[in-house]
Structures are given as C-alpha cells and as structure tokens.
C-alpha cells in the first residue's frame, strides 16, 4: 500500500512495469533528465537507465511512429506526448498506422504501445494545452481509450495498458495530478475494461469519466442532502465502452445524465445517450441529458474556462432538473 497522488501513481505504474519487464521502454520529450513536465517520470532514468527512459527531440509524429516499429519488434513502448494537444502532430502515425496495422496486415503485426497524454483543462494553460480529445480517439477503430479518474485507476489501468497487445491512448487529467492522494494497493488491483460504480444511488444515473468524476461525486454528495440519490458511474475506458454497467444502472434509476469535459457536440456522451436510447429506452422515465464543454476553444483565464467546461454548479442544475422531471 502507498499513499499516492495521481502523478505519483502514474510514475509508480511505469516503474513497476519497467522493473517487471525488460521490454518496456519510456520515450518522450523531457521524460529523462527532467523527469517529465508533470513529474510523472522523475527518477525513472536514474533507476532504469537512459537506454530505457529516453528523451526525444520534439518530433511527435516520428517518435510515435518509432514506437510502432519498436512495438512490432516486441518492445513495449510507453510514449509520452507532453500535452494531448500535441498528439495532433502525431495523428498520422496514431490513426493511420498504430490503429490500423493489426487489421490491415490481417493480424501479422501487433502494436503493444501506450501513448500517455496529459489532458484537459483546469490548469490555465490556454486553448492549445487544454483540450479533451477522448471523443476524437474513441472514434478511431483500433485504439483503446483510457481515461482514469483517480490514483488507483491511474496505477492499475496504466499497468494493464502497458501489458495490452493493442495501442492504448492513456489520457491523464493534469488537473488531477497533484490534488488528492489515495491509498493505492500496489500488489492487487482491478483489471479489465469495466466501468466502476463510484457511488451507488437510486434516483438517477450520472455517467462520467476522468476529471469530471470527482466533480460529479461532490455534486452528488450535495444533492444527497436535498434528498436526491445519484448513482455515479465512472467509465474508466471510453472504448471499449462498458454498456453492461451503464444498462444496469439506468434500468435501476430510469434517468441518465452524461457529464464530460470534452466538447458536448459529437462528444462521447452522445454515444452513451444513443446507446441507452436504443437499448434501455423502455426503462427511461425522462429524456437523457448531457453536460459537456461548450463548443469553443478552452480559454486561458479560470473564470472564462468555467463558462466553458462543466462546473459543479452547471452539473448540479442538470441533475436537479433530471431528478424533478
């Protein structure tokens, strides 16, 4: 057991896999000497060597492509893209090669690679450092999209991802990196692509992921005092989507609100809503609601950003309205 913040859990997961498997390597800008701009690789180079924790030039596309080559040869690269926004420079290699290679070679190649990306807002980094791109990645066949909400999941989902035989887009909320710390069992943890019921409740279901989970739990706790019992489902993975857990919860509560940090329009919340409408419609007592980011770039200033990304207040308004419907 260890008391870890989110960033420390990410680092501990890489350390554990680097120690367990010689094939694991870590590559990225500033991951070596500096230890990562968010400290997620501090100490790894000293412990595992500069040939396993590799500083790269600022060449996202080539570095990801290089990782693909290393992965097909049997290494297990963990590529850090410093901000998820920078992954757009590597989209060709991610989307056109990593995601498709297993399929278009008819199984001749596997790409066991993790691409870690600090993601989302909440740190006043402005429009080109604050996007939540999970819906975009979830749209690409061949990718797995992980979006952990807490240190325990950050640790175990990352370890699972490094052991996965497919490319995983691993999105880490940089807002969460240094906030709460949690007791993480470093020996035994959850494995698999399932969603987690973060809080049980009876009146309505909130399906959320990543940074919004904590926010939804806080709102749910406040609403408890008002007599509204919310069930909060933390998806953990946007793809594969654990529709079983979603269906069970919605069938119980009859009401669904989807909350995410990504832009609401064409966001993954729309997919969850559509799936529920198609498969669990008869159990619904109210129209499905969505709370996502407004369709504008993420502004720099905190008060401006609060107008764009779902705040506790906006989530609470939506949940109250859903409960009253």
């Amino acid at each position: 057991m260890a008391q870890l913040k989110f960033a420390e859990a990410v680092r501990a997961a890489m350390a554990a896999e680097l120690a367990a498997d010689d094939r694991v390597i870590v590559m990225g800008e500033e991951v070596g000497k500096l230890g990562g701009v968010f400290t997620t690789t501090v100490g790894l180079r000293d412990r595992f060597g500069a040939d396993r924790v590799l500083d790269t030039p600022i060449s996202e596309n080539a570095v990801v492509g290089w990782g693909i080559g290393a992965a097909v040869e049997g290494l297990r690269p963990v590529v850090e893209v410093m901000f998820s926004d920078f992954s757009l420079l590597a989209m060709d290699q991610i989307v056109n090669l990593a995601a498709k290679l297993h399929y278009m070679s008819n199984g001749q190649f596997n790409v066991p690679m993790v691409i870690r990306m600090p993601s989302g807002g909440g740190t006043n980094h402005g429009p080109q450092h604050s996007q939540s791109l999970e819906s975009l990645f979830a749209h690409i066949p061949g990718l797995i999209v992980a979006l952990p909400s807490n240190a325990i999941d950050a640790y175990w989902m990352l370890r699972d991802s490094i052991r996965c035989d497919d490319p995983v887009i691993f999105l880490e909320s940089k807002y969460l990196y240094f906030r709460n710390s949690e007791e993480v069992d470093l020996e035994h943890g959850p494995h698999g692509f399932f969603a987690r019921v973060a809080k049980a409740g009876n009146d309505l279901t909130v399906v959320t992921a990543g940074r919004m989970v904590q926010r939804c739990l806080e709102v749910a706790s406040d609403l408890e005092a008002e007599g509204i019992s919310c069930e909060v489902v933390d998806l953990r993975y946007i793809w594969p989507l654990d529709t079983t857990t979603i269906a069970e919860s919605v069938s119980k509560t009859g009401r669904l609100v989807v909350v995410h940090e990504a832009v609401e329009f064409c966001g993954w919340g729309g997919e969850v809503a559509a799936w529920v409408a198609e498969h669990v419609f008869m159990d619904l007592d109210a129209p499905i609601a969505r709370v996502g980011a407004a369709r504008v770039p993420i502004p720099f200033g905190a008060p401006l950003e609060d107008e764009v990304i779902p705040t506790a207040d906006r989530i609470a308004v939506s949940l109250r309205a859903m409960a009253r419907y």
Binding site: G65, W66, P240
Partner: protein
C-alpha cells in the same frame, strides 16, 4: 564507405562478372516486377480488378538493386507505389495477386489492397499510403532489433514527394540521434503526383545534398542502372549494418501516370512515359549487358510464373465479407461492436 575509385572498380567487377548470379538475379527481379505490374494493369482493363493502382514501371532497378542487397531477415517499408519493393523483397506474387483480387489468401485477406501489402515473413513490413508515413516505424523497428541483439537492418523507401514531409526530416534526425541501422531510399521520379520535383527541390541530386548537409551518409545514384544501384546499396547496407543510418537517392522516372485514374495529360505530354522508356528502360539496359542468350530463358520463365500465379489467385476463395468485422484488435474479446 568505399571511395569513388573503389566503387568504380567494384562496379567494373560486377559488370565484368555479369554472367554471375547477381546480374541474372537483378534482371530476373526487374523483369518479374514489370510482368506483374503489366498483368495488374491488364486485369484492371479487363474489369477483373478494382481500386487504385500506382505502377512503378521504369523504377524497377531501384527496387531490385536495393532489395537484392538485403538479407531475408532485413526489414523493408514502402510507399503507395510499392509492388516492386514487395516483389524484390520476396513477397510471393500469388499472394499479391490474391490480395488485389480480394481473396482470403491475399497478403492481408483482402483488407489491405494495392497500397497496403504487408508480408512479415518476407521482411516486407508493408506499404503505406500516406506519403512519408512508412519512414519512422522502419527506423524504430531496426533500432529495436539492434537493441534485442540482431544485426538486421531496415530499408525505408520513400519518393521525392516524401522528402517534403515533416516526418521525413523528423525521422532522419531521430535515426541519426539514436543510431538506427536504417537505410532511407528516396526514389526521385521527378514528380510528386503532378508537382515537378525540379521546381520544389531542384534537379535530381538536390535531395541528396539536403540530407548530406544534415551529416548523414548520403549517396546519389542513377536509378536506371541496376548494377549501379545494387553496388551503391551494398556499400551503404554494409555501413548501416555497423549501426548508423544512411541515405540513398535513386534518380528514376515514372513511366505511367500517378495512378490508373490520373489524367496526366493535364500536366505532362501523354507519351512522356513511353518516349522515356524507348531509350532508358532499365530492364532493356540490363538485358543488353547480359546478352539475349542469358535472358530469354528468364523472360519465358517469368511470363509463365506470372500467368500461373494469376490463374491460381483467380481460382482462390474470395474473402468472406463477414471477416471484415473481425481483427481490429489483438486483445481477445474486443470486437467491432464497441463492447468489452
């Protein structure tokens, strides 16, 4: 790296020894590429084949010269114009035909098609339909193999168009930084689709100068001359095998239009290709060096081989449509339906 004199002597040796297995093998490989691609064109005209096709006619000496300098375990990645590279690296032509005919027995069971031939067993890691997209994973794979103790190298083919891509420069830099045993081969055919390479980079050889200025071992060769390409490739391959990248520019010519559907008359004279071929055909140039008695047997054998492969491929079982929904993931249980 051999000096100019050494290389001239070596080429003379190769030339003098042109009845040796290399000369015949190089000729045979070029002839096979030509015959397969002509057959593919024919099948398109007959309506038997669908989709796009980018002929490498006129560029065969580059594919044959470079790939015949490799070992079977060495890796090759290629471009949208990559049938020649696949054939020269040893991908069975029956599987290429089968892939283009959407047969279950094709290199990718009909999933890849003309621009996505992958054949790991031959070391042909694959074509890539994104210009420049095949470069970084070739360098990464070679680097990984070296780490794992093997002496194999990669060859990453690109065109002159690829030399204008960011990933070209990123990958060459990274390969130097991390000493990847990767040979980058730029087939400069003078046209990036309709864009004149002379206008973008300058005359043939300008890309070599650009790369040489980065400190990479670089060489320019006349891509019509298969013996010259092979000699240059052998020199560079032996350097690369020591553990550093190198670059080779082959000046070639694109005889055909960009693709089957390309209205090339809008940017060059329609007869440009055939006119060039009359006096520059690398296969004819090599045939003249070898002599008719050497090549007649090969020509007949290649023609027979191609006809048989086509016939066998056409008789194969078609890819099952339902197979399209499987295999996007290596992880068991992850399917197309989105659920775990």
């Amino acid at each position: 790296m051999a000096t100019r004199q050494q290389r001239a002597r070596k080429e003379k040796d190769v030339l003098a020894d042109h009845h040796s297995q290399w000369g015949l093998e190089l000729y045979r490989t070029m002839k096979l590429i030509r015959a397969v691609e002509l057959e593919i064109e024919k099948m398109h005209h007959e309506g038997v084949m669908t989709g796009s096709f980018h002929s490498s006619m006129g560029q065969e000496a580059s594919a044959a010269g470079v790939c015949c300098a490799l070992r079977p375990a060495d890796i090759v990645t290629s471009t949208h114009r990559g049938h020649g590279h696949a054939i020269a690296k040893g991908v069975p032509i029956i599987e290429i035909f089968a892939e283009l005919l959407n047969k279950a027995g094709g290199t990718s069971g009909g999933r890849g098609g003309s621009m996505h031939l992958h054949h790991r067993m031959s070391g042909f890691y694959g074509e890539n339909a994104i210009v420049g997209g095949g470069l970084p994973w070739a360098a990464g794979a070679a680097w990984a193999r070296r780490r794992l103790g093997a002496s194999d190298i990669s060859v990453a083919f690109t065109g002159d168009g690829g030399a204008a891509q960011g990933v070209f420069h990123e990958t060459l830099r990274l390969a130097q930084f991390w000493n990847s045993p990767c040979l980058f081969v730029c087939e400069n055919n003078g046209l990036a689709h309709s864009m004149s390479t002379d206008e973008v980079f300058g005359e043939a050889g300008a890309i070599t100068k650009m790369v040489a200025a980065t400190g990479m071992l670089s060489h320019f060769v006349d891509g019509r001359d298969v013996l010259a390409v092979h000699a240059a490739a052998e020199d560079l391959v032996s350097e690369v095998r020591k553990g550093r990248p190198a670059f080779l520019e082959c000046a070639v010519f694109r005889v055909r239009a960009h693709s089957l559907s390309d209205p090339e008359y809008r940017y060059r004279a329609k007869e440009s290709g055939s006119r060039w071929l009359e006096s520059n055909d690398p296969i004819v140039l090599m045939r003249d060096r070898l002599g008719p008695s050497d090549v007649e047997g090969i020509d007949a054998e290649v023609d027979r081989q191609v006809a048989e492969a086509r016939e066998e491929a056409q008789a194969m079982e078609p890819a099952q449509p339902a197979s399209a929904l499987n295999g996007a993931y290596a992880t068991p249980g992850l399917g197309a339906d989105g659920a775990a």
